[in-house]
């Protein structure tokens, strides 16, 4: 082999080595990058899927057949008593509530004002069922901007339903429910749901005896939904539930939700 041939062969090998190294390096890194991106995407999609499932569950929980049946029965009772105005009024509230359930379940967030509207309708219908044995009080902080602050739709209604059906329902005498909205700062607020029912500990014990899992299921759905909302990085909500008998001589349950300021208001509803 002549000297020139050796030189060319050597240079050819060097070029080949360098080119091969570059191609191999970038191919390896691109493959790894694509694999990681795909994994991230899959995990994000799974989370979204789970979130949608939970939202659907939340909707199903609100539309529970007992509630629909009891509400229509109560309206029927007033019709039978010939209290046309009252029954018309409640029927209108009921149909409005159904419309709100479907409308808000499609949204990412709704204003506090709209959530309060939905809760009022829901509580009025429940009040009809309990007649004079149930009262509710909505306390709204004047500093709270109810039009510009948002929360995930139908996050409070299952809490109220639990308070009524598993707390107040089993209590003898006047049932009371307080829903208090407090402003923490410009973009954070706190919601407290306080009832004077039998308390969460007794309710759990009763459900265990009756082999009912609805309460546990709905609070599990709620907690998991809050966790997924936190994971989505659009919401940061602290959830706390305590039996009032543990800290005072009163009975009932107190649920506290703190909505912190990093909320997503892209898809809000005025």
């Amino acid at each position: 082999m002549s000297k020139e041939e050796i030189i060319f062969l050597s240079l050819f090998c060097i070029v080949l080595l360098v080119v091969f190294s570059i191609v191999f390096l970038f191919a390896t890194f691109n493959n790894r990058k694509n694999k990681l991106l795909q994994e991230q995407l899959e995990s994000k999609l799974n989370n979204q899927k789970r979130q949608h499932e939970l939202e659907l569950n939340a909707l199903r929980a609100q539309m529970n057949p007992h509630f629909v049946h009891n509400s229509l029965n109560a309206i029927q009772y007033y019709i039978q008593l010939n209290e046309v105005e009252k029954s018309e009024d409640y029927l209108a509230k009921f149909s409005k509530l159904m419309r709100q359930f479907f409308e808000y379940s499609r949204k990412q967030s709704i204003s506090i004002e709209n959530e309060i509207g939905l809760l009022k309708n829901y509580l009025d219908i429940e009040k009809l069922r309990f007649e004079d044995n149930f009262n509710y009080y909505l306390k709204i902080d004047k500093a709270l901007d109810t039009e510009e602050l948002f929360l995930p739709p139908m996050i409070l209604q299952p809490i109220l339903e639990n308070a009524i059906n598993h707390g107040i329902f089993h209590k003898e005498g006047q049932g009371e429910l307080i829903i208090e909205f407090t402003s923490l700062n410009e973009s954070s607020f706190k919601v407290e749901v306080i009832d004077n029912g039998i308390g969460i500990n007794k309710a759990k014990a009763m459900n265990l005896q009756k082999l009912q899992t609805h309460t546990e299921h709905s609070s599990y759905v709620l907690e998991e939904r809050l966790m997924l909302l936190k994971e989505s990085k659009n919401w940061n909500i602290d959830f706390k539930i305590i039996d009032r008998s543990l800290n005072s001589n009163q009975t009932g349950t107190k649920v506290t939700l703190v909505f912190k300021d990093d909320l997503n208001v892209e898809d809000y509803d005025h």
């Binding site: 050796i6 030189i7 240079l11 090998c13 060097i14 360098v18 190294s21 570059i22 390896t28 991230q40």
Partner: protein, 208 residues
Amino acid sequence: MEEIKLISRILLWSFQIAAFIAAILTWPKYKNTTQNTFLYFLGFVIIIEFLGYFLPNQFGVKSAYIYNPFIVISGFYYLFWFYKILKIKKLAIILFTVFILVIINAIFLENATKIWKSPLIILALLILINSTVFYSKLLNKKEVVYYNNNPEFWIVTGLIIFHIGILPLFLFQKYLGIGAFYFRITIAILNLILYGCFITSFLCLRKK
């Protein structure tokens, strides 16, 4: 032949100066990172290149007297930089020891008037080892998704390509001849890739 030598030298200087300018312009973005010494190193490279051209041409000084110390200093600098980014003390001690032994060997056994062969070949191997460790670590991190915006990745890539090329070049040196045309051209191209990667490493900081 002389024209090509001059063109390749001018191209090399342009890339080195461009890398130095990029390092100055992006200094605030990396002054608190492990790359913060690169600005001084690139300044040092430009001074060496100037001396490597000026002293032999004006005073007949052997270029090996300038480039041999440069190989030693740059070798230590790269090994120290790898230690800073990899943080593996045992590996650093072994590699530093090997490099020091090779330099001692070169001082006593190699001709000081010619470019030292063994420190360059061993340095290339040590950089290949460090680069492999760096890549394997990066591939197992989540940051691999943004690897093309990682300045360390571009510096290591420049170093590995340069040394992959330089290794066979020095191994086949006796066939090519150190001052030969092909040898110079290959060295120049490898340097262009090296400093091109350095420039990219600074420019990707702007994108960040």
